[in-house]
Amino acid sequence: MLLNVDGVECRYGSVKVLDDVSLSVKGGDFVGILGPNGSGKTTLLKSISRILKPHKGTILLNEADIYSLKSTDVAKQLAVVPQDTSIGFNFAALDIVLMGRNPHMKRFQMESEKDMAVARKVMNLTNIWHLAERPINELSGGEKQRVIIARALAQEPKILLLDEPLTHLDIVNQLEIMDLVKDLCVKEKLVVLAVFHDFNLAARYCNSAVMLKKGKIFSAGSLTEVLTSENIKSVFNVDAIVTKHLVTNSVFVIPLSPQKSSPSKKCSIHLICGAGTGTALMKVLLDEGYSVTAGVLNVLDTDFETAQFLKIPVTTEAPFSPITVKTHKANLAMISEASTVVLTSVPFGGGNLQNLEAALAAVKMGIPTFVIEEVPIERRDFTGGKAKALLAELKSKGAEFVKDKNELLSLLNVSVEKLKIAKKERDRILDHLKPEEVPKKTKIRW
């Protein structure tokens, strides 16, 4: 084993930031370190790079305790690309890269031709040789980051620690740099330990991962073992859909933003949607604090899948089947429970025309009904005008037409506020109507 971390515990003062962390890596490993902010990822890298000495446990580099080795001997084997890459004095890019040769040089030695050759090689790898003479502070963030990575590679390390190495890089730079590191990992058996915030980048490049939670290893192993929606939920408190990426075939994570507030604060909303027109709305409405129901949706419909995931109650119909009378009735029952109905810009065909009738029924029941008209009905009416006619009736019966999601939200919030005010006003009036209590203790004495 090249690097062996065994039972490491680190503290800042009395606060334990790493607790019994163990891992071992061998040549060619590309380990992603995952975890929310404050979970100890950077601390782990710091203890491995000898900046923060663990209170307990050992870190062995080639079977030798890393804290007993000479600084230069460690630097020959282990290089670090830090988060913060600000540089005080204005050195040329090549100077900075040559600093990576420091552990290989003697006190009074100047850079030799060999050092120069190494610098040139790594600068060609990172594609910055043309910037060699440019002052570092004149370079862009991405170029600077490449210089720093080149400096780390110039150390000719066996192990490379990357602490969120991609923070300053745009997407092309991110992929190029990671491709390069991956390449070195495969061809030169370089060990890479990298802190990632992006699950998908980690999934794409790492061959194993460690997920930290509050300083402890929560999960470790292959990407498919570590990146599961259960793990992500319990470590990051975020719902995520985990699938395989169609193109790269690596684990693919779609995180959903955390639930902002619990429902029941506001009223319940019934969505009449389908074909993906309700997907975005469901999440937004939940976040706004409404409780949401939906229907009728066919099983396997995109909106159905979203609703399933978000645990939204749905009136369902069998896949690719027209809405039956029974389901329609069930839907109407659900609608009658809702305090507001929203109809999205769903296309209408013979199969789902009944949903439009359901909306009409809602209006007739006196439930405030909003119709989102993002796409004109002419372009989504596949019923030969029946849908158009029903929509016109909806309008005449008092359904409120809005042009998009945002307008809907503002109207919804206004009506909720109105409801609140109305309730307060009612409470106030009721208060006044209460008979005044006579204070019991008051006794009149002459």
Binding site: S49, R50, I51, S71, T72, V74, A75, K76, L78, A79, V80, P82, D84, S86, I87, G88, F89, N90, F91, L94, D95, I96, L98, M99, G100, N102, P103, M105, R107, F108, M110, E111, E113, M116, R120, W129, H130, A132, E133, P135, N137, R151, A152, Q155
Partner: protein, 364 residues
Amino acid sequence: MSTDNVESTFLQRTSRWKLIILLLVLALIITVIISLGLGSTSVPVQDILTIIGKRIPFLDSFIDSSSVSAASEAIILEARLPRIIAGVLIGAALAAAGVLYQGVFKNPMADSYVLGVSAGAAVGASASILVGAGFVFFEFRLIQVAAFIGALSAMFLVYNLARVGSRVPVTTLLLCGIAVNFFLFAVVGVLEIIAANKLHDIVFWLMGGYSNVYWQDIWAILPFIVIGIVVAFFYVRDLNLLAMGEETAHHLGVNVERSKQILLVLASLITAAAVSVCGLIGFVGLMIPHLTRLLIGPDHRILLPTSTIIGAIFLVLCDDLARVLSTLFSAMSTRDWPVGIITMLFGAPFFVFLLKKKKQSYAA
């Protein structure tokens, strides 16, 4: 710009650097010789060379000194030469210390007095002036011994105040330095209040100058300054790496705490030695490193030697000016102009001029 030449340009830097240092040493020698000729009695360059050559072993037998008057010889060797050598040493010391401090602190505002050395020296000197500065102590004047001890005590005080466990974070070091500086200068203020008729002496010491320096003063500070600067040369590459930030330096194989400790002690020793003779000469330790960086770049391997020599040249020239002005204004005041006034009066505008001219390349 062809990048194929880049490698050879970088590899051949050593020879270019050697040339720069050689030229600067030549400039320093010329400055010294010209300065020796300046003053109320003019001595021709030829005589100066003869007088100096006569003092160099092996060379003396080839030199005929019959043409030089004994008076000239006395003026050069006993009055002017010690003063100019003191200028060389002190200028070199302050500039070198400035480079070391700025490198370790990674802070452009750091100067040779950043660790409270100046204030400590000022307290020592002021106190000894109150007691009676004429007191001689093993051939050294009390004021110098007191200033040297004051300077080093202040440095150790700051260093220990700033220490957190085994580490000395530069931010706490800077802040402790500032706090101790303020405190000790307040002490100097108190001493000035009770100084009565000796106030004048204290004020002039604080302005910084070395017009009445003797050979024994030079012998006393020479080892500190020379050894200090030479040892610092072992750490020039560490300084480059420290400029990248302490963590980065650590990752690149520098034993950060040890290097920092050694560099700070060296810089403080160098400064304390200089300050004990010359009082507070401002500007040199702060600006000469910046000026040199503007001219030749940030690499400490060349920055430290060039700053050292440029500091020496600069202070000798300023002292020449001080002497000339003292002679010109002798009708108004018999006081020597303190060189500390000159360094700031002429150095600061020159530096601003240079900064304006090259600010693009200097902006971080």
